[in-house]
């Protein structure tokens, strides 16, 4: 598939206290929802913060929405096109919702106050259904604070959304709403709007994910369109007696006393020929876990 890129990264590095983010080349396609998946400490937040202009301690070249910046340069020119939500609340706790609305309007020329209020209602930020502008940020739950940040971001006219763990504090219903919102945002852009988000909730976010990037230890270990990844990897299931023979060709294996299942590269399927195995199309969650396990430093219990 030939696609334009929303973001292109070349030779990106950032080091700090034993951690090194090192991305020789990465492309994030325009017009799609891209999920950034990885263990804690894999470098997801660092990467998103660099792209959003929140961190400048990087080396390398970044092209974002047609603008180039490199080696710690601020991405001031594209900030008007980017919406960002962080992993934690970035409003002061004693600010009221009215203040958040006013301050966001001051910081962004494209902020639409009516749309903000409408999104606040759509996201059910106020339990009684009335816009309670006097409510303080500290009186909101973690999930509602995230909804408020999302409302502030979505009430702007942007071309790229960068979201760090937006689903984590949200309940399942709200996660589905978030997926719908992301899909609606992309659809409204006719191929020009893109979303880049990190998530640990791969299953919940799978239906909206077009492209996935898996990171481990500061490096990209897998990237591709979800449909391509599902062709590249195959879920293999078999009886217990086949496990030892199949294990060398599997990315990750989970087994019990009856049988096993694991993720195998499609190109290695020939090596498993002749074994009494069944195959299935894996989910993004299964692929992600397999790839992460293969690269993880976590001591996994053998199952």
């Amino acid at each position: 598939m030939v696609t334009e890129n929303a973001i292109t990264i070349n030779n990106l590095t950032k080091s700090f206290k034993g951690f090194k983010l090192e991305i020789p080349h990465l492309e994030i396609p325009k017009g799609f929802a891209t999920a950034l998946i990885g263990e804690n400490g894999a470098g997801k937040t660092t990467l998103l913060n660099i792209l959003a202009g929140v961190r400048l301690d990087y080396k390398g070249q970044i092209s974002c929405m047609g603008e180039n910046f490199a080696n710690g340069a601020d991405n001031a020119k594209v900030k008007e096109k980017i919406g960002y939500t962080g992993p934690g609340n970035y409003y002061l706790p004693h600010w009221t919702v009215n203040q958040v609305e006013e301050l966001t309007g001051l910081l962004f020329d494209d902020f639409n106050k009516d749309r903000f209020r409408q999104i606040c209602m759509e996201l059910a930020i106020f339990p009684d259904g009335n816009f309670a502008g006097k409510k303080k940020v500290k009186e909101l739950s973690d999930g509602t604070k995230m909804k408020l940040m999302l409302a502030g971001m979505l009430a702007r006219d942007t071309d790229l959304l960068i979201m760090d763990e937006p689903a984590s504090p949200l309940d399942p219903v709200m996660r589905e709403k978030l997926c719908d919102t992301i899909r609606g945002y992309i659809d409204s852009g006719a191929g020009e709007k893109s979303v880049f988000f990190s998530t640990h909730n791969v299953s919940d976010m799978e239906y909206v994910t077009d492209y996935a990037i898996i990171m481990e230890h500061g490096q990209v270990v897998e990237a591709g369109f979800v449909e391509d990844l599902k062709e590249k990897y195959i879920l293999v299931k078999g009886d217990k007696e086949m496990e030892q023979a199949a294990r060398p060709y599997l990315y990750s294996v989970s087994s019990n006393s009856y049988g096993f299942e694991g993720i195998c590269l499609a190109e290695n399927m020939n090596a498993l020929a002749g074994m009494n195995l069944s195959t299935e199309r894996p989910s993004l969650f299964q692929i992600s876990v397999a790839v992460m396990k293969a690269n993880s430093r976590i001591m996994m219990n053998k199952r």
């Binding site: 700090f16 929140v54 961190r55 301690d57 001031a76 960002y84 970035y90 600010w95 203040q99 910081l107």
Partner: protein
């Protein structure tokens, strides 16, 4: 005008009311004190203003300098966020100067306009020069304490810390007033000199520190910025 608008957007309704109401109320009390009780209450009034100022500062900027705070990100993601952030503190600084120097100026002017300067001089048992030096000292004392107190209190998002600093501030103003009242004129001059140095240095430090907090939040390593700029 946009700078003032940005500043007021950072104030809660209560903070806006307190910011305007308390100095006005204190002025009324000052006039009442002079006319009804024949008593110059400037030091008490300044203590109350200091208390209100540090507490309202918490409700505007409390926790903005905290170590794990992410509020700077809100400004950093905006193309004009840095300017708004710096302008807000600039206006806040000007407001502080107007409050701590304007109030004593108006109050002392009223003392003279109402012909009550003899009350102040008799109460304080001092010469006119000593009285004026003491008044200027009160202004600088309140200003310096407010500057340093709010810088410290903003490091925590804890109202009790701000409250404690505010209460210490009122005690400071009262003790300072006693010292100021009973000091000979050359001691007053020395105290005023020290307070002027603290106020000027404190103002420069506050401006530097505010910018530094924003700039540093872009980097894990302070050396990175220097390396990037080739220093």
């Amino acid at each position: 005008m946009s700078k003032i608008k940005s500043y007021f957007a950072h104030l809660s309704t209560a903070s806006k009311v307190v910011t305007i109401l308390i100095p006005a109320l204190m002025l009324v009390f000052e006039i009442e004190g002079l006319l009804v009780f024949e008593f110059d209450m400037l030091a008490f009034m300044m203590a109350v203003i200091l208390l209100a100022d540090i507490l309202t500062d918490y409700f505007c900027f409390g926790g903005i300098y905290s170590k794990d705070g992410k509020v700077q990100n809100f400004y950093k993601i905006s193309p004009k966020g840095k300017d708004v952030y710096m302008n807000v503190f600039l206006v806040h600084g000007i407001k502080r100067i107007l409050l701590y120097f304007g109030f004593p100026l108006i109050s002392t002017s009223l003392v003279f306009l109402l012909g009550k300067q003899e009350i102040s001089l008799a109460l304080n048992g001092m010469t006119m020069a000593g009285y004026l030096l003491g008044t200027i000292g009160t202004a600088f004392g309140g200003y310096a304490y407010s500057l340093i107190g709010s810088l410290i209190s903003r490091k925590w998002d804890m109202v009790m810390v701000s409250f404690a600093i505010a209460v210490w501030g009122t005690s400071f103003m009262m003790i300072f007033n006693l010292i100021k009242m009973w000091s000979p004129i050359h001691v007053k001059v020395i105290i005023l000199g020290v307070l002027i140095v603290i106020s000027v240095a404190g103002t420069l430090f506050a401006m530097w520190y505010n910018r530094k907090k924003l700039e540093d939040s872009y980097y894990d390593e302070k050396s990175f910025k220097r390396n990037q700029s080739g220093v």
